[in-house]
Amino acid sequence: MNHSPSAHPFLGLSGPWLQTILMVLAFGIFSWTLYRRLGLLRRGKRAKRLDRPLHRMAWTWVYGILQIRQFKYPVAGVLHMIIFFGFLLLLLRSCLLMLEAYFGGVSEVGAVYAWMKDAAALAVFLACLFALFRRVFLRPSRYSDRLLPEHHSGEALVILIWILAILGSDAMFEAAGQALLPAEEGASPVAAGLSGYLEGMGQATLLQVRLSSFWLHNVLVLGLLCYLPLGKHFHVLLALPNVFLANQEPKGKLREAAEAGQAFEDLEQVGVGKLFDLNWKDLLDFLTCTHCGRCTDQCPAYATGAPLSPRAFTLQGRKLAYKSQPIWKQTNGNPDFWESGFSRDGLWSCTTCGACEEACPVMIEYVDKFVDMRRFQMEIGEVPEELQKPLQSLERRGNPFGKARLRAHPFLNSEKVPLVSDAVAGESVGDLYFADSAALYEPRANQAAVAFLELAHLAEHPLGSAWSKEVDSGHDARRFGEEGLFQELRDRNQSWLTSLQPNSVVVTDPHGLNALKYDYSQDLPVLHAVELVELWLQEGRLQVSNHQESIQVSFHDPCYLGRRGGIFEPVRRLISSLPKVELVEMERNRSWSFCCGGGSLNLFREELGQQRMAQYRLAMALETGADLLLTACPYCLLNLEDAAKSSNLQSWLGVQDICEFVLSRVSPENTHEKEGVKA
C-alpha cells in the first residue's frame, strides 16, 4: 500500500529500521526485567505444582480464562471481562501493526476482523472510561487499605489512560488512512467515521498524522509490555500461570511442615522466618497480586479492625522481594520477613477461615503461608502470651481448657451412647462419635452435643464413643503452628482409632471433621452431624411436628463445615424439610460466610479489632429479621451466643445449634414411640 509506514521514513529512519530499533530496545528491557523478576522464584524453596496437568488445564480454563470468580463482584467483574476479552482481540491487531512496519498492508485483513476489532475497541474504550470514572469518582472502598501507606489507584489510572491512548492512536492511524484513500475495501467502521473529521487536511498533513499515530501506537504497545513487570499489571502475564499452578489440595488441607520422606523432628529449620524460606509459588503469588483487594474486603480480621490485611501482606511481601532483588542493581540477601512491615499481631490475627483465598481471582494462597510463618515463631518461642496456657494445657491434659479428664462431661457414658473404649480389638465398634474438646469440657458446647446424641437415639442410629481415650484433634494447634503438639495429639487419637476400627466417625465439631479428613492419615469416612440428621429426616426416622409456631431462622456457615468442608446444601435441605420453618439467608452465606472469631485456641486469643468478629456477624444476622440464628459448630455457637449476650440482643435473636433446634421441633409422638419401645 502506498500509505503504509513501511514505505515512508519517520524521524529520518525507514519503517523497518525504526521498528527494529524499537523492538530490540523494548524486548531487551522487557527480557531483562522479566529475568530479574522471575529470577526471584529460583530463590524460593521447592514446591510441586505440576501434578495432574489435565485437571490443571481445565481449572485454568474455568478460573483463568472464563474468570468465573470475577462475577462475585459484578461491576468490576464485567468491566474486567470486557477489557480482558477485548484485549485478546486487539492483541492480534497490535501484532499486525508491528508487522505493518515491515510489510505494507499486512494489517488490513478484511472486513470481518475489522468489525470485530472495532467492536472490541469500542467496548474496551467505554469500559476503560467507566473504570476511570469509577476509580476517580465512585472510589469503591476496597481500593484503599488502612494497612498500606501508599494508595495504588494512581497506577490503575496510568494504565487505563495508557490503554485509551493505544486505542486512540490506532483509530487515528486508520482514520488518516481512510482519509488518504477513501475507497479501500474492508475498512474499519470507526476509521471511516473518524475520517470525516480529517477532511480538508492536505495529503502531506494526513500522511504525517497517519505516520505519527502509527508510531505512537507501536511505542505505546511496546512501552506497555516493558511496564507490565514493574507494577500490578504483571498479572496480565502471571495470572494464568498462577491459576494453573494453584494449590489443588482439598481446601482444608495444610501444607506439610516437612517434605515427604523427611521427619519433622530432624528438620534443621521449621517454617518460614525469612523471605526466601517461602517456596517459589508463594513468591509467584506476591508477583501476581493485582491489588484488587477482594481478599481484604472479605477478611473478618480486617473488617473488625485487627491489624491484618491479606492484600497488604502480599504487597509488603512483594515489595520486600523486589527490594532484595532490584532490576538494575546487585542482588541483596535474604531479609527477615518482618522487614516488610507485616506485623506479628497481623500474623496471629488470622483465624484461617479462608475467606481471602475464596475471593482471590488469581488464586493467591494465604493460610499456608501464615501457618508456615507461625511454625517458625513457635519454634523460636515467640508466641502470644495468652496462647501459651492453652497450648500447655493441650500438651499436659489433651484439651485447651486445661481440664482434667475426670472433669469431662459424662454425658457420653449414658445408656444412649455406650462407651466403646473397651471394645475387643479386631471387632468393629460400628459408628463412633468423636466429641473433641469443646463437647467434652465446655458446658454449652456439651449441651449441643447432647442434643445431637438425643437425635441419634430417637433415630435409632447406634453411636459409640471413646471419649475416655480421646484427646483434642489438634486441629488448631496445627493451624497456630504448633506442629509437634499436633502430631502428638494426632498420634494419640490415631492409635485408639486404629485399634477400634469404627465403620465411620461422626463429629459435631467441624474442626474435628477437618482434622480427621485432612490432617489425619487413616482412611475412614468422617461425617458431620448435620449430614446424618438430614438423612434421618429424609428417611422419616425422625418425625417433625406440624403443630409448631412458624419461625424464621438464619444459618451461619461455620468456616470448616462450609468453605473448607464443602457442606452447604445438606444444611439447607435439612432446614427446608422442617415444617413452618423459613430460612432467611444472610447476604454473606455459604462460601462467603463471615468467620465468628474461630475455634479452639482462637477462643483464648484476644481479638485485636475494635469489635469482635462474632458481634459483627451477629449484626448481619439481625439484618435478616430472623428470630433465631442457627449454626453447626460448638465454637460458632459459643462466640455468637456470647456476642448476643454481651450486646444484650438475646431477646431479639436467639442462637442455637442446629441439632438443638431440630430436637425442639421433633414431634412428641416420635419421642413417645421410642420411649414406648424401650419400655
Binding site: 518461642g381 515467640e382 508466641v383 499436659r396 504448633e482 506442629e483 509437634g484 502428638e488
Partner: protein, 261 residues
C-alpha cells in the same frame, strides 16, 4: 559469662484441680502432673536471654531423683546449655538449708558469675533457698528482681522493695538473684523443642562430685503436721442459678448499705 539457674519441680495446680488429699492426719500430694515452678521459668528465661545477648554459658540444676529431669529438659529446650541433676542429701525433703548446701556445692564446682533462682516455690510457699545460698557462698543477694541487665562490667538489677517502690542496684559478679514474676515473659517451648532434647544426657552429681562434706551442726526441720485450714465462720457459698445468686448478692449489698438509693 556463666549463669546458673536453680529449678524446682512442683505439682501442676493449673485450673484449680485438686492435688492435695487429706489422708487421716496427713495431707498428701496426689498428682501425676509435675511442672517447672512458675518463678523458676522467669529465672530460666532471664539466664537464656542474658547468654543470647552477651555470650557465655548457662546451666540449670535441680535436686531430686530422675523425675526432676523433666524440668531440666524443659530448661534445655528453652535454651539453657547444660543441666545437672543433684543427688538429694539423704532425708532433705523441703529443708532449705540442705537444698542450699547442695546448690552451693554445684556453684563452687561450676563457678558461675550469676545464680538465678525463682523467688519462691509454688508448692511449699518457701522462698528461703536463694538467700541461704548467697549467705553460704558469701555473695551479694538481690531478692525479687523485676529487671536484670548486664552492662559489660556489672549487673543492673531492678527489684521490689517496700510500699510498692522499686530499687535499681548495680552489682558486680558473682551474685545471687531471685526472680520475681514480671521479670520477663518466658518463651514458649514447642513439643519439637522438648523432643529434641529428650535424649540429652543429664549428668547426676552426688556429694562427692561436688566436693561437699555433710552439713555440720544442722538443726533438722521436722514436719509436724499438714492440714487444710478449717473453714472460717464468715464464708458462705451462695446456692441456686446464676440469676438467683446475683439477686442474693444484690440483696446482701443492699442490706449492707452499699446502695444509697
Amino acid at each position: 559469662m556463666k549463669v546458673m539457674v536453680c529449678l524446682k519441680q512442683v505439682p501442676d495446680a493449673g485450673e484449680g484441680e485438686a492435688f492435695l488429699q487429706q489422708v487421716g492426719e496427713e495431707v498428701q500430694v496426689a498428682c501425676d502432673d509435675w511442672v517447672l515452678n512458675e518463678w523458676d521459668g522467669f529465672a530460666v528465661e532471664a539466664a537464656v536471654h542474658l547468654i543470647e545477648e552477651h555470650g557465655g554459658e548457662s546451666m540449670a540444676v535441680s535436686i531430686g531423683d530422675e523425675a526432676v529431669e523433666g524440668v531440666l529438659r524443659r530448661a534445655l529446650a528453652m535454651g539453657v546449655d547444660q543441666a545437672w541433676r543433684l543427688q538429694p542429701d539423704s532425708n532433705s525433703a523441703d529443708d532449705s538449708m540442705r537444698l542450699a548446701h547442695s546448690l552451693m556445692g554445684a556453684a563452687l564446682t561450676w563457678k558461675p558469675d550469676l545464680i538465678i533462682c525463682g523467688a519462691m516455690a509454688s508448692d511449699s510457699g518457701n522462698g528461703l533457698v536463694p538467700g541461704i545460698l548467697a549467705g553460704k557462698l558469701q555473695w551479694p543477694f538481690v531478692a525479687l528482681a523485676t529487671g536484670l541487665k548486664w552492662d559489660g562490667k556489672s549487673f543492673l538489677v531492678r527489684h521490689e522493695i517496700h510500699q510498692g517502690m522499686e530499687s535499681l542496684e548495680k552489682i558486680g559478679a558473682p551474685l545471687v538473684v531471685s526472680a520475681q514474676s514480671g521479670l520477663n515473659q518466658p518463651r514458649y517451648v514447642s513439643i519439637r523443642g522438648i523432643r529434641r532434647v529428650a535424649k540429652r544426657e543429664i549428668p547426676m552429681k552426688n556429694m562427692a562430685d561436688l566436693s561437699l562434706s555433710p552439713l555440720q551442726n544442722h538443726v533438722e526441720l521436722v514436719d509436724l503436721k499438714r492440714r487444710f485450714p478449717p473453714s472460717g465462720a464468715h464464708a458462705e457459698i451462695l446456692q441456686g442459678s446464676p440469676q438467683e445468686q446475683i439477686s442474693q448478692v444484690i440483696q446482701r449489698m443492699r442490706e449492707q448499705g452499699v446502695f444509697t438509693s
